[in-house]
Symmetry: C2
């Protein structure tokens, strides 16, 4: 098995990123994904304080940033660990030193479970996983056995229940109890609780709709918990929630752990949600730096299209200069128009800062994030943050 060597392009790209450290934000070549470290750290502190004040475990979702450095930073600020969605994300972050990782998703492929079991055996990381089928439990046990993982409670297993998303998860109630009982038959596993995440609810614009969806999800969780208690299980940890709804899960007193991810960076899509009363407000901390490379009387065209930022949840917002609207220019271009007639269009060569529509798939397009200290206009590049699990879809 021969490793294909890294391409010259990737080496050059990362060297170029590294070379910007200590330099002005003006020296960053475009398009580049830039983190406003000051804003990010305020978001980090705010969520840590929120979880602490409400006596909740915080397990941020690292599917969003895919970075071991940021996962460790979250854990240094009170997080018990992180979630990921994919086996190879978990292994990439574990190899880069993240010590507590929960795959909040189902894995059925034997090859993946074998890789994971090897990680459980060899790495100093505590791993967890979600299941929604007996096959998922049995294949996991088989993979751990093949990798000679022995002992008691070597892996945490959460049973996913469908709380309204209509995607993965067993139905609330008895089906979850059946799976918990199957898990309990295997001492190598530990039944760790319920995975209960309502992805769709995160993006309802109207706070009343979000409240309604999470109320139904809470009911599904409470029902399942009651059945588990009746079957002799202890009260399970219920883990879930996202940046769009976590105040609702908190208020329900049903969830014990928050899986918020986007709060760290905040994207344009979340900003389009109408804020709920009393919800903390997070700042945009993730930006695409782009440059105007074509210009006429009607519009300017910047060099960042949807190979630089994901648009499946909506187009980016133009952060700076003010008064511009972004129109889809396809893979490599963004068309910038004046929001109102007569407003100023940027000139050829000018910098344009965008807030991506959706941070998770945007980060996944880039190998590195450039961390800037001191603001986007006058700041300096403080560090290069590696996206360790970029492209780790397996």
């Amino acid at each position: 098995m021969n490793a294909v060597p890294e391409s010259l392009r990737a080496i050059a790209q990362r060297s170029a990123a590294q070379a910007t450290v200590g330099r002005s934000v003006n020296d960053i070549d475009t398009p580049a994904l830039v983190v406003d470290l000051d804003a990010m750290e305020r978001n980090l502190a705010q969520m840590a304080a929120y979880a602490k004040a409400h006596n909740l475990r915080l397990r941020p979702h690292a599917k969003m940033h895919k970075s071991a450095e940021l996962a460790r930073l979250q854990m240094a600020h009170g997080a018990v660990g992180v979630c990921v969605q994919k086996t190879d994300e978990a292994l990439a972050l574990a190899r880069a030193g993240v010590t507590d990782i929960y795959i909040s998703n189902e894995v059925i492929a034997e090859a993946k479970l074998q890789r994971l079991a090897q990680g459980v055996r060899e790495l100093p990381t505590r791993f967890g996983i979600a299941v929604d089928s007996a096959l998922g439990v049995l294949r996991l046990v088989q993979a751990l056995r093949q990798a000679q993982v022995v002992g008691v409670a070597r892996m945490d297993v959460f049973v996913e229940i469908d709380v309204g998303q209509g995607r993965c998860g067993v139905a609330p109630g008895e089906p979850a109890v059946d799976l918990a009982q199957l898990i309990a038959q295997h001492p190598v596993l530990r039944f760790a609780g319920l995975q209960a995440y309502h992805g769709g609810a995160q993006h309802h614009r109207d706070p009343a709709e979000r409240a309604h969806a999470i109320a139904e999800a809470a009911w599904a969780c409470a029902l399942t918990r009651a059945r588990l208690l009746a079957a002799g299980f202890e009260s399970p940890l219920i883990t879930g929630a996202g940046t769009g709804t976590f105040v609702l899960e908190t208020a329900s007193h049903v969830w014990g752990e928050l899986q918020v991810g986007s709060y760290l960076f905040m994207d344009a899509d979340y900003a389009r949600n109408e804020a709920a009363p009393l919800a903390p407000v997070f700042e945009h901390a993730l930006f695409v730096k782009s440059q105007v490379m074509s210009r006429n009387q009607q519009h300017a065209v910047c060099d960042a299209g949807h190979k630089s930022h994901a648009i499946e949840s909506g187009l980016p917002m133009v952060w700076s200069p003010p008064g511009l609207v972004f129109a889809n220019g396809s893979d490599e271009h963004g068309v910038l128009r004046a929001a109102r007639a007569g407003e100023h269009l940027p000139a050829l060569g000018d910098t344009v800062w965008l807030v991506p529509g959706h941070c998770d798939p945007t980060v996944n397009l880039h190998d590195v994030l450039l961390g800037v200290r001191g603001g986007l206009l006058k700041g300096k590049v403080e560090r290069v943050i590696r996206v360790d699990a970029r492209g780790a879809v397996g």
Copy 2:
């Protein structure tokens, strides 16, 4: 300037890909981007024969595949070179041995033009570029001078005219002549012709709408050509066209070079176009192999979401098994439903083959393509095709 070493994840991922060579398609871990080599080669041959029969230069767009291996394959089948959209794409492909590369897009950043000029000096590749501003011409000349690129006609420069896309390009007619005259003042450059691509027209579903758009584009080209001839220029090469419209550009007898890209792989979006009479039909050759990892009575969920395939031009089509419709399951999931009540849903662990909605940004999510010979059901992995310019957005 220290290069950041490649992540363990990336090395592991590429090794894993390399390890599949010679093995059955069934052994490919999911999600993976798979090329049906037999279908791709038929597409390749068909387009090469078409261009030859119509006495047209073929310069396929490598922004689609970003692979030096595929660019060389296209050139071995009659292409005069390839196009790209970005400076770093051009340099990545040039360093991997592609000898004729045209950046069919504007570049204004001095840092990029300096990188490019170094490439012109050091690499055995013929480079071309598009311009739509005097600043673009002047900065290019300055960068070539700084890199000590001397001599005559060291770089081909095309003037982009806006033929109806409403994005980049000067207006047809005199503005293009002005730029051609500016280019002609600099012996290091060669005025090579007109860039005339109508991106929007590619995706009109109705062939009559496509015909109308390309008729207007042809008029804009013919007008500009007449003005150039009147100003003493020779008849310029007009380059453009895409997979959705190239029969129309051909029929106009205005274009001399075709920049088709997607014909090699064909995505679900192009397949949704209603075919024009007499247009060659290309086969789907690019697939996402995915696996069912959750299942209930209503639907199955596969492990490929929009971090595995781009959905901004529409959702993927389910190629196999038949009778399924793909619904958006977000970043890491696809929800598969029966197209008609009572149809069979795949079981947990089953393979599902998808045709991506849009090939260009899908390829850009992956480091490698797995080239399969002998079909998706019984074939073997013949080779790993590197996506050399993945993420090269600069």
